[in-house]
Amino acid sequence: VADLPVDNQALLHRQFPIFSWGSGGKLMYGLPIESNQSSFIMGSGPALPTIKIVNADSVVTRELFLQSFPGPLVKNKTKKKDVEKWLQSVLEDSSGDDSSLVRIAADILKIKVADSGTWSDISRSLYNSDELFVYLSQPFAVPEHLPVAHKLDSSNQMKVLAHLQTGGQDEALKLALQNNDYAIALLIGSLMGKERWSEVVQYYLTEEFKIESDVSDFSSNLLSLIFQVFVGNSKEAIREFSQVPIKKQWALNNWKVIISAVLNNINPNTDSSPSSINQAPPVILEFLIEFGLFLAKFGCGTQASIVFMIANLPLSSSPLDNTSITFESVGSPNSVNGRILSEVYEFACSNDAKGFPVLLLQKLQQAFYYQELGMTSNATKYADYLGTIVKGLPKKGSNTINFAHSLAELSSQITGSSTGWLGKP
């Protein structure tokens, strides 16, 4: 449609559609007759002949699983099985859109609610590596076993040892790299702290792990990151590639494959950490937090929420690390999906019966949403639940006052819609 200058005055003489929201799940609208039609009929009838009042429910597209959601979810009251069943229905409904963030979040939450999952289950939610198994089972041509790499000769090996005996780590490393002996270079690097080791790893992968078909160095980037994660160098690794545009883009595009690969390498037998998915080993926790912050920083806030969920971070208004980034909700709290997923996450992961206090307003907003659509019984369940919560809040403080005030408004709307005319305040 071309951008013609608008005739402001003429607009005052046009009939636009009219619309008004009403309480009790109603809405009123009036659509104008198409102007050319009107002219053709040559009648002078009103441009807007009919005004209709209908149920909002009949117009608003409702999420299929909204009605069946067993909320509000109350720890030790709501049955885990019911939540699992509901999540399962969501997954079946997602109409095959495997990459949808809603599906991924729901899948992960189902694993968490069941409380018997493993890290590779979560990994699979992000990226199904079955295709790799197919690839791995293919027979490969037996390669010729000609030596193609380098290593230090005896006298240089002794020099390396002599350097190390005299504390000359840098000299030893230089000698190894000059001779392209990466094995001994990695060993020397292992003495020099995680940053130097990571440098050697990256150098080695860059030099030696070039795969022809590899677009934007996918393989060496991924391997390099995996190794750095497990040596505890996540923060630095992520900082490094977030400063190189092409690597940053690679990481943002491939976040699922990356996290999946890292999670698949959590070995319950190493370290003394439990393999429970409720507690990530320290290096993994560091990685998940840093990677989540990276995603959030570059505009992938919802993906970041999923990563923070995997890391079992609590929902809270406190900023993470030394950033201004918070994890208050799974996705936008102003979206229905976001609010429901946040509530399920709280149910699955919060240790406290109190849950995550930051969700109270979201639950209130959700209750209002039910009421707007005329789903009064759902709205009532939430209103009752929130009514019990309000009693436990600190008496003073604007947060409590506002909350109670809004809850009262909700209750009066609910009452109003059920008793009609008689419900005058």
Binding site: H13, F16, I53, N337
Partner: protein, 294 residues
């Protein structure tokens, strides 16, 4: 479901259900306001209100606690207040501070009192409180010199110090393509400009501040430039974040924006003769939530 046909013979500019959804007020270029009672499938015309001398652009019901009261604004530059008492309607006040068309009128959140916000093509907005003993002196300020097309109150939020400490905000949209956010101080009866939001490339036709209870504020603005912009901000942010409702322009100018009662769904009406519904998705973008069809 009630269907009212041929409510007016001329253009109908606005129609609003009351708090209980029992009455419908419509206003028209025919200079009248009609009050209908709606119940179940039925409707009944209760009253036709005359008094304005030009097309009536908008009507707005006051909170029931004040009684059955309606405000209307018109091309004639006036805001009229109407009240039903004992089944009879009467005009009970006139607010005539503007020298040109008053394009929108809206009652403030009822906690502020019986307060009205009016926007006029004379470039000014006015805030006027109706006390039991008569009106107070209205507060009038210049908002958008070329003309103010719409104004909308922010929802009421109780701060630490109680009602008297409240920050009362409203947003305006003008013929200068700008959107402005204002702070109204009831004690000093003054209005100060807080933010000027640039983004539209033509007249802003409607502004709507979402009544959501969440801590993030949302303002929807629609314009003749065929876009709808969602402005959002949290208390701790310095600046408003601007999000286009959708990347492509709408087929025709956009005319009105209206949030559902709790701000979950946004309804837009425009020159393509459609009313489209929108809601926010998981990732903070806006997706369709339905469309009103005949």
């Amino acid at each position: 479901m009630p269907t009212i046909t041929n409510a007016h013979n001329d253009l109908i500019h606005d129609a609003v259900l009351d708090y209980y959804g029992k009455r419908l007020a419509t206003c028209s270029s025919d200079k009248t306001i009609k009050i209908f009672e709606v119940e179940g499938e039925n409707h009944k015309l209760v009253e036709t209100l005359s008094g304005h001398e030009g097309p009536i652009w908008r009507v707005d019901w006051a909170h029931p606690k004040f009684g059955t009261i309606l405000a209307s604004c018109s091309y004639d530059g006036k805001v009229l207040i109407w009240k039903e008492e004992n089944g009879k309607w009467a005009q009970i006040a006139v607010h005539a501070v503007h020298s040109a068309s008053v394009n929108s009128v809206q009652w403030a959140p009822h906690e502020y009192g019986a307060l009205i916000l009016a926007a006029s093509s004379d470039g000014k907005v006015s805030v006027v409180e109706f006390k039991d003993n008569g009106t107070t002196a209205p507060v009038v300020i210049e908002a958008h010199a070329i003309g103010v097309n719409a104004a909308s109150w922010a929802p009421s939020v109780m701060p630490e110090g109680g009602v008297s400490n409240q920050t009362r905000r409203f947003v305006t949209g003008g013929a200068d393509n700008l959107v402005k956010v204002w702070k109204y101080n009831s004690e000093s009866q003054s209005v100060t400009l807080e933010d000027t939001l640039e983004g539209h490339t033509d007249w802003v036709r409607d502004v709507a501040w979402s009544p959501s209870v969440l801590l993030r504020c949302y303002i929807a603005t629609v314009s003749q430039d065929r876009t709808c912009i969602i402005w959002s901000k949290e208390e701790k942010d310095d600046k408003w974040t601007k999000t286009l409702l959708q990347n492509e322009k709408f087929p025709d100018v956009l005319w009105r924006a209206s949030w559902s009662l709790s701000g979950n769904i946004l309804a837009l009406s425009g020159g393509d003769n459609k009313v489209t519904l929108w809601k926010e998705d998981l990732e903070g973008k806006w997706e369709p939530a339905g469309e009103v069809q005949e």
